[in-house]
Amino acid sequence: MNFEFTEEQLMIRDAARDFAQRELLPGVIERDEKAIYPTEQVKKLGELGFLGMLVGLDYDGGGMDTISYVLAMEEISKIDSSVSVIMSVNNSLVCWGVEKFGNEEQKQKYLKPMARGEKIGAFLLSEPEAGSDATSQRTTAVDMGDHYLLNGTKNWITSGKSASTYIVIAQTKPELKHRGINALIVEADSEGISVGPHENKMGMRASDTHSVMFNNVKVPKENLLGEEGFGFKFAMKSLEGGRIGIASQALGIASGAYELALKYAQERKAFGKEIINHQAIAFKLADMATEIEAARFFCLKAAWLKDQGKPYGHASAMAKLYAAETAMKVTTEAVQIHGGYGYVKEYHVERLMRDAKLTQIYEGTSEIQKIVISRGLVD
């Protein structure tokens, strides 16, 4: 066992922290309130290599380990989860899948620009009738010999409008059920694709969440990821890694809110002393700090397993479940510690509380994580 980070991991954490303080903190309240997509911020994030930090150097990525990724996700999420969700989806859902299962041509053509952050990727799995239940895909990719013909609607797509590259999960052979599902790389400007209106969300309001409609979209055969019928497995594998990203995001939301609450409790006075000197507040902070530390260990453990090439699906489900629940609880307490100030936007904690809610829902709800965890118990 070794609980020390390397010099490099700490440098990445500090770089992410500096970036968040310098580039994300100014304007985060306005971007949230008016649901303004963080175009400039995402561009700079890409230039620094955060959007492709997990991709290997050969494909223009940062070649960093997953531990570093957890640290960076935490720092960025402390300030702006609308940005960190774009980073998480691009890194751990889209780039990871193409790097792991794509062929050389696909990597050259699609992975490299995404790893450089020049193009953004989106992962299209959820459907109006199929959120967590990925086996019942209504979107179809009919094999037309030299291409697939794509029809259907995908919902709740992060970066739905800003992405240039989609990974679309669709049913090709309904008779084979989930073994007939394919994963396709689809260029977002293909003919027949239309993007629905911006979802007016409760939290993470600055990220662009849209539905995407496919109407007779031709997808070249060479854009199939992996073998024919590999799509469902591909999606499940991608989500295993994606959960580390979202768990780290939830961790960051929690620790961001905790840091603000701790600072506030040391400054704000009530009944003649700083409120941190009242046990009611001190104990809240003690609980928050302890749970955040536990969530951090979950995230780092899952990341470590992934870096070691060991199975990490079970650990990442635990990390996501625990970190998301912690984020919700800690942010709620942070608002409570701030009292009336916590309920106004200027103090940031109400935004973190709204953002936290989404971590319990997307990339597998907390309930789905429990299914994954419980199934893993009896294997």
Binding site: E8, M11, D14, L48, L57, G63
Partner: protein, 249 residues
């Protein structure tokens, strides 16, 4: 053309300072270390000069006098773009000692331009750069707010009270730089961090050098009295207080 940038390793500017051993030593437990902000600006300008094709700057080296604890800071300098780092393995006892060590290095390894920040945010000595210039008998320009190399023709601006002077000089020289010299310091990119792994960080033995001063004690400033709050409608009251109570008008 080669630029040497002197780097000091200092506690993060938001650090709450504490002392230990009877207030004789700075308590560095839990301290986050950073590149001294002025040195970081100097490094940023050096990197900008290297990237500019209009001059012949082709190597940026950073140098630090201190223990292995500063290696992370030097590695960061490499990650944001310095080509190599040198650490003189000595306890940085005072400005004379530090400047002397760097001068000894310079005698063996000549550079065209030496950059140093105008002060360090820990002991606020503000003397290392000019001392190096004197040890080396180089021209030294202090309070530098701009360095431009056009076809290696050197122009610097320095702050003077209420204005600035534009100067011309020749290499080798020492520029002691302050705010304004460069834009924002850089954040290391993932690629930069990766490349820093392969860049040289050379550790050199210290030279014999005298130490002329020593820090003997620290104290924290007296607590400030409470702020007297005045209603926003009562501007006259404030004027009266400034005149008759604070006596500063």
């Amino acid at each position: 053309m080669k630029i040497l940038v002197c780097i000091s390793n200092v506690p993060d500017t938001t650090t709450k300072v504490k002392f230990k051993e009877g207030d004789s030593l700075f308590d560095d437990s839990g301290v986050q270390w950073i590149i001294n902000p002025w040195d970081e600006l100097a490094l940023t300008r050096a990197l900008e000069l290297k990237e500019d094709a209009g001059n012949s700057v082709n190597e940026i080296c950073v140098i630090h006098v201190g223990g292995a604890g500063a290696d992370a800071t030097l590695r960061k300098a490499l990650a944001i773009g310095a080509d190599k780092a040198v650490r003189i393995d000595a306890c940085p006892a005072d400005a004379y000692h530090v400047a002397g060590q760097i001068a000894e290095f310079l005698k063996e390894n000549p550079f065209d331009i030496v950059f140093s920040g105008i002060e360090s945010s820990d002991y606020n000595g503000s003397s290392v750069g000019a001392m190096i210039a004197e040890f080396m008998d180089y021209p030294g320009i202090s309070s530098v707010t701009a360095v431009n190399l056009d076809d290696d023709d050197i122009q610097l601006s320095r702050a003077i009270p209420g204005g600035k002077q534009v100067l011309k000089t020749e290499t080798p020289f020492v520029a002691v730089v302050q705010k304004g010299i460069a834009n924002e310091p850089r954040i290391p990119s993932m690629r930069g961090i990766m490349m820093a792994r392969k860049k040289p960080l050379e550790v050199k033995a210290a030279a014999e050098m005298d130490v002329l001063t020593k820090s003997v004690k620290f104290e924290l400033p007296a607590e400030k009295g409470a702020c007297k709050m005045i209603e926003s409608e009562s501007a006259e009251q404030l004027v009266d207080l400034l005149k008759n109570e604070a006596k500063v008008l």
